[in-house]
Symmetry: C2
Subunit: 349 residues, 2 copies
C-alpha cells in the first residue's frame, strides 16, 4: 500500500482545483454559446442558432470536459490511474475498479440533466484517492456563486486530507467550511433539519422498487412528528438539486443537515466525501449494516465505502454537555435510518 | 379602473429592479455577518460570533428588508398601495386585499427556510399590479449568479408588461428571457421535461391531506410511462428549491418546463407571473376549473388568479406545423392536470 506521506497534498489540492475550474469554465462557455445572448461577453447576439440537439450538446460537453481533465492529469501525474464517469460508463459493465493505487476519480459534468436544461445546479467534480480513500477533492459549479462574492464566476469548493476544506481556497481568499461554526444538533432532529435527496433515474413504480422506496422515505422525512406510524421527521425542508456532488457540497458548508441517497457512483461522491470529512461532517451508509445498529449504540457506525452506491451525509455538529460531536451525528444517522427504506442498488463483482 | 397607459412601465421596472437588488444586498450582508469568514470583504475573521439564533436572524432580516422596500416605495410613489409578506402575515387573517388600484406586492425574503440554513436559493421578489394584474416584476437572488457572468454579485431577473423579460436588464447587458429561443414541446411531454415542485409547510399525513396529494402527484410525474395506472409522466427530473419565486424565474429562463404548486401566496408569485408572461410562458391554475377541461379543447384555459394559491407555470413553446405555441402549452397543462391531484388551499373571503 502506498503511504499518504509520499504525496504533496497541498500541490495535489491546487491542481485539482485548477482543473475543476478550467473544465467548468469550458462548460459555461458551452452553455453561453447556446443562449440567445451568446458568447462569454454576455452581449446580445440573436444570430447564434442552436445547431445541435440537447443530447448532442451534453455528450460533446461531457466528453470534452473529461478529456481536458484527463489530459492534464496524464501530463502532470503520468503514473496515476484515472476513473472518469464518461469513459467508465462507456465500458461493458460497472465493476468497481478502484484499488490502493493513487487514482483520480472524476465526474466531468455532474447534473447532466440540469446542464441540458440550462438549470444552474451542475458542476465538475475532481477527486483523488489513495488506498481507496478520497484525500483530495475539488468541485466547481460554473453557473452558481459561493456565499462570499469574488471576482471570479462560478463557485469552487475544495478540500484535502488534514489540511481543511474551503469555499474559495486558501490561496485566494480563504473561506473555511463549514460557513458557520458547527451548531449543536436539536434534541428532536431531524425536525428542523434541511434535507436533500434525489429522485434519480430508477422510475419503475413496481412494489418494492427504488422509486417507491425513495418516495416513501421522502414522505416519512417530511411528515409531521407522530405521522407515518411514528416515522414522521418534520424536516424543515426537502430539497432536490439533481446533483449529488452539490448536495454533498451543501452538507460541507453546513447549509444542508442531511443528504440521503442511493444509486449514484464513486465519481459523484469522491470529491464531496473528502470535502465533507475536512469540514467535520460524515458520510456513512444510507442504511444500517444490520438492524442492530438502530438501537445498539456500542456498534460503531462505519464510513460509507466509496463504491457502495448508498450514502448518507450529515453535517458537522457541535458537542454539548451530554453528547459529543460524533454522538450527535450518530444520533442523526440512526434517526434517518429509522425513517428511510432499504434501497436495492448493486454492482457487478 | 386605472388605465395602464397612465404608468411609465420602464421607470417602474428600473425602480423595482433597484429596490430588489438593494434589499438583496442587505440580505447577503446579513448572511456574511453570520459566517466565520465574516464581512463583505470575504476575509477570515473568526472573532465574529453568532449572537442571535437562526429564528431571530431571519425575522430581523425579513422585517428590515421589507421596511427598506416599503420606505422606498412610499417616497417615490406615495399614492401606491403596498402588500408585503411580512406585514401582511402579521395581520389577523389572510384575506385577499388586492383591488384595481396600483399596488406593490412584495416578498422581502422568499425562501426563508433556505436563508436560515445558508442555503443559496432565496430571493427578494418585488411586483407591481394594476387592475389586479402583475405588470412589473423584479426578483433578485443575492446568493446565486445568472447564466451570464457580470461584475455584480447575485442574479437579477425582471420584466415589464409589453416591454420584455430579462436576466440582467436592458440598461446593463441585456440578456432576454428565455435564454434560448423557445423549443417545440416533445410529443410525449411531460416526458423529457424538467419539473419543479415544493413540499411546502402542510405536513399532515392524514388521507386526503395536501402532503399526501402533493407527494402522490410528484410520484406520478416521476414514474415511468405506463406506471401509476397510466399517470406516469417520466419527467426528466424533479427539482425542489424551496422558493416559489425562483421556481417561476427558472420557468421564465426556459430551464424548467413545468412548475406545479399549491399553497403559496400572491407575494410569492406576483413578480414571477409578469416575468414568465413576458418570456412567453404561462401561469394557469394548478387544477382544471372543471374536469371537462381535461378533454374539451374548445374550453380556453384561463390564467391563474394572482391570489388563487394554486399555480401551474409552463415555459414558452415554439409552434410546429400542427400545433401553435399556445396549443402546445395547453397540451402540457392538460397532461400535468391529468397526473396531479386537486389540492385544498383556501383563503378567507
Amino acid at each position: 500500500m502506498p503511504s499518504l506521506s509520499d504525496f504533496d497534498l497541498d500541490e495535489l489540492h491546487r491542481f485539482a482545483a485548477d482543473i475543476a475550474c478550467e473544465a467548468g469554465a469550458y462548460l459555461r462557455d458551452q452553455q453561453l454559446a447556446r443562449t440567445r445572448a451568446g458568447g462569454a461577453s454576455g452581449h446580445l447576439d440573436r444570430s447564434i442558432e442552436i445547431k445541435e440537439n440537447a443530447a448532442d450538446i451534453v455528450t460533446h460537453a461531457d466528453m470534452h470536459s473529461e478529456q481536458l481533465i484527463t489530459n492534464a492529469i496524464k501530463q502532470r501525474y503520468p503514473t496515476h490511474k484515472i476513473i472518469g464517469e464518461e469513459s467508465y460508463s462507456a465500458g461493458q459493465d460497472k465493476r468497481f475498479l478502484l484499488d490502493d493505487d493513487p487514482t483520480w476519480i472524476i465526474d466531468p459534468l455532474d447534473g447532466t440533466v440540469n446542464f441540458v436544461h440550462l438549470f444552474p445546479t451542475c458542476c465538475v467534480s475532481v477527486g483523488f484517492c489513495v488506498n481507496k480513500v478520497p484525500v483530495v477533492g475539488a468541485i466547481f459549479a460554473p453557473l452558481l456563486s459561493g456565499l462570499h462574492p469574488t471576482n471570479a464566476s462560478g463557485a469552487l469548493y475544495s478540500g484535502a486530507k488534514s489540511l481543511g476544506a474551503w469555499s474559495t481556497p486558501p490561496w485566494a481568499h480563504a473561506v473555511p467550511l463549514p460557513y458557520i461554526p458547527p451548531q449543536p444538533l436539536p434534541a428532536d432532529a431531524p425536525k428542523g433539519c434541511l434535507f436533500t435527496a434525489e429522485w434519480g433515474k430508477a422510475r419503475s413504480d413496481a412494489p418494492g422498487s427504488n422509486l417507491v422506496k425513495k418516495s416513501t422515505s421522502f414522505i416519512n422525512m417530511a411528515a409531521e412528528v407522530g405521522g407515518r406510524g411514528g416515522k414522521g421527521g418534520m424536516v424543515h425542508g426537502v430539497r432536490s438539486l439533481g446533483s449529488a456532488a452539490l448536495d454533498l457540497v451543501y452538507v460541507a458548508t453546513g447549509a444542508v443537515d442531511i443528504f440521503w441517497e442511493g444509486g449514484c457512483w464513486e465519481w459523484d461522491v469522491c470529491a464531496g466525501m473528502i470535502i465533507i470529512a475536512e469540514a467535520g461532517g460524515r458520510v456513512v451508509p444510507s442504511q444500517p449494516p444490520s438492524e442492530a445498529y438502530l438501537t445498539d449504540r456500542s456498534l460503531a457506525i462505519p464510513d460509507a465505502g466509496i463504491g457502495s452506491r448508498l450514502y448518507l451525509a450529515v453535517r458537522a455538529c457541535a458537542g454539548t454537555e451530554g453528547e459529543t460531536e460524533r454522538e450527535a451525528q450518530d444520533r442523526l444517522v440512526r434517526e434517518v435510518w429509522r425513517r428511510t427504506e432499504r434501497l436495492d442498488y448493486v454492482r457487478p463483482e
